[in-house]
Amino acid sequence: MGLLNPQNFIYALSLALLILIYLRSRSRPTVEVSSLMLFDEAPAPVASVRHVRIDPLFWLEMATLTALTLAIAGLYVMRPRTPGHGRIHALVFDLGAGMSARDRSGTRLDQARRDAIEIINQAPPGDEFSVIAYALEADARHPQTANRADLRNALGDLVPMAVPARTAALQAALIRARGASEIDLFADRPPAAAILADAARVARLNFHQVGSGDSNLAIVSLDPGIPRSTQGRAVIRNFSARSHLCELAIDLGNSEQFHQTLMLAPREQVVVPFGPLKTGGVLHARILTPDAIDADNDRYAYAPSEQAAHVLVLSPDAAVRDDIARVLLAVNANFQIETADPAGYLARAGASGASAKPLELAVMHDCYVPAAGAASTLLIYPPEPAKNSPYASPIGIFVNGTLVSADIRSDAIGQAPAIESLTLGATRIVALPEWMDLIATASGPAHSSIPLAAIGRAAGGPVGVLAFDVRDHLLLAPDHLDALVLTVDLIKQLTAPRDILIVPTGADVSVPATATARVTQPDASVRTVTADKWGRVRIRPLQAGRYTVASGGQTIQVFANYYDAAESDLGAKPQAEAKAPAEKAAASNAQSAGEVQPLVFILIALALLAMTIESALLIGHAGRWGMRHV
């Protein structure tokens, strides 16, 4: 027995109102009599009499209101399930990285799969099931069907992803499951109470928590350092509540650079220095000690080449040129940097033709010089086309105006560094071409969202854009570190090798391709993707490891790293607010063997019966005492 809509039980307040009305009315009636002399010997009223002695009309009204309240609140009883009733179930699975954690009996997803199959086996033949999965977003894996073989196949196809399970995705999955009369949610940690309560309004929700172990190590970050210059660092974290051994190996290409076994205290995070590396390349850190989640045991980073690379910095402001040069050297000390005023550079370039040295990167501040001919270009504060300048407009990038100031918004797109709200100076309002990916946005007067940082691959090479001005030593100001972080991030992405991409799992990756591309995933599966009109294919790595994109005789490697502190922390206790619904849902599981039978009609019938009896009593009362006493 329970309530389908417990919040409607608030109508029980009407009972309190009835009692108040009754007590008040009991104290009110006044009867005029011929003389109080007649009442001289009547017993004096006792206080308790006023509150305790209640007449049948009151009890009938109480019964009526109680029945109606319970009917509104959805009182139901469980009754044995009738075969062939044809109920609809939704099986909702969490496919976040936590579900790949191994216990003694396999992964958590395996356990959830077994539980789901048991539910399917116990269901009457007429019941139908749908399979919905969620991690970054909700996905209906199998539509509603009564075919058990198809359902088992759909369950068998579920694979955990190396991404955290998002709350929004869970909500979307529960919304998709709303057509079902019963929802079975399988996850390794209880969601927020409000989400469960919201879903329970439209369907019966059973939450199944799977998994118990908490033994997990993770590589939090990997910094290769600068070859031959500075040490690299790997940050290792123990999420277990007990000490844990960690055998760490770091490879550069095919050669092992570092190998060490560490003892990590409970929930300790350590920084492991190594190097400096002798040469650049793809650095691969591995935890060799077995633990629960594999996805966070590997991490890739790219160590820049130790060979000199030429970088051109153009800006009409000498101080800006100096600041950018400092930042570039901080990113890679092997950069050979040439700074110039754009007007002077144009005259020199016109006189001597193309630059003799191939440029790795051209950084242009408040100017655009197409003749620079660099492999990649970073535009900072691109010039306005209306400005009567000798420069041409950057290809595909249009400047529509300038804001005096703008605030960086924290809802940065993709995997840009976490950015707090920060006020910048002058900022260009730029319109980006479709082939560019937005990294960060800003808001300003009369503009809720304008692009602040973006990167894309044009035909001539990668192009990055920073819309804000960096004059007045903005990049070196300690109060504007976020602007510096955005700049460094873009420089790193622009100077990375063309055939190597290192991205976090779940990020959208754009890779140049011709016509079609063969994508080989970390589990060695291969799929073919068609390039879009911009000559690129987009992939979204959902597993940690190396992806290979082969197209037109060119091969690009995409290394996907996974780490999420919340998802990897298997020992995290559920929130207090989430514990109650979890227990409640667990309790409801015991009842799930039965079928809900609402008692609405019975309760309404009882209310009508009580009202009829009350009416009869009132009629009799009126006949006996007159209407004044009713």
Partner: protein
Amino acid sequence: MLEARAFEPEFLRKLDRLVLGIKRARTVRAGQRALGRIQGLGIEPENFKQYAPGDDLRFLDWNAFARFDELMLRTYRADRQVEVTALVDASASMGLPERDDKLGLALAIGASLAYIGMADNDAVRIGAFAMHRGAMKLDATPFHRRRESYLNFRPFVMSVKAGGETRLGAAVDQLLLQRRPAGTVVVISDFLVNEGDAADALKRLVAARHDVKVVHVMGEQESTAAYPSGLFRVRDVETGEVRETVLGPSTAAAIRRKVEKIAARMREICTTHAITYAQAFGAGNLESIMERELPRLGLVR
């Protein structure tokens, strides 16, 4: 309203055979109240007496003188009419409980007694009393003697409304101030007044040589305490005093006991002063009261 019943021909026919139980005294005896005590020029012989100097020689019985050789004087009963006043309590208490129609019952009894009194061609009137704005208001009809004029009472009877406080003593004071000859006064009231006030008023009427008769009127609901049960505030309609009480079986029993006490006390007062006391409880019993109860008590014959 019940008072209209007193003017219905069918009801009046039942009263035709009744007469008021009035003591018409032929002699004056010490310690005895009597009406028509003065000798007069009546036609009904009453007694003989020895002649005394100064007696009217016209009443000498010459036959007796011839037979007994004594001067005997024949006396006659004075042929006098008795004034009958039906004094009805019209205070507010007579209006409640409404369904009891106590005032209607009292007026009907008063009018009926007036009709009966007219059988002997006695002078009859109906009066109603109640306090009005702090002063006693005693309204009464003129005296009527013949039954043909009975319907003259109707406008007055139908116009009486309950209201005001009961002050029996003040009403008697006002009645005695009219200095009417001693007659019959029928007091019809619920007597929900101070015991001393009622006893004192009746005593003064008796002292003025009136033949006093009391009809104690109570409603059926009032006397049986048939109120709905529950917690109520009861308000005295005359004084406005309010009291909270629980109406129920125990309260009803207490009220019934109180009614019995009041009736017993009134009976005791009336017995003490040789006043005829009759109870008229319940408006539904008007006919049985008039035909059986009042004759049984000697109020009518």
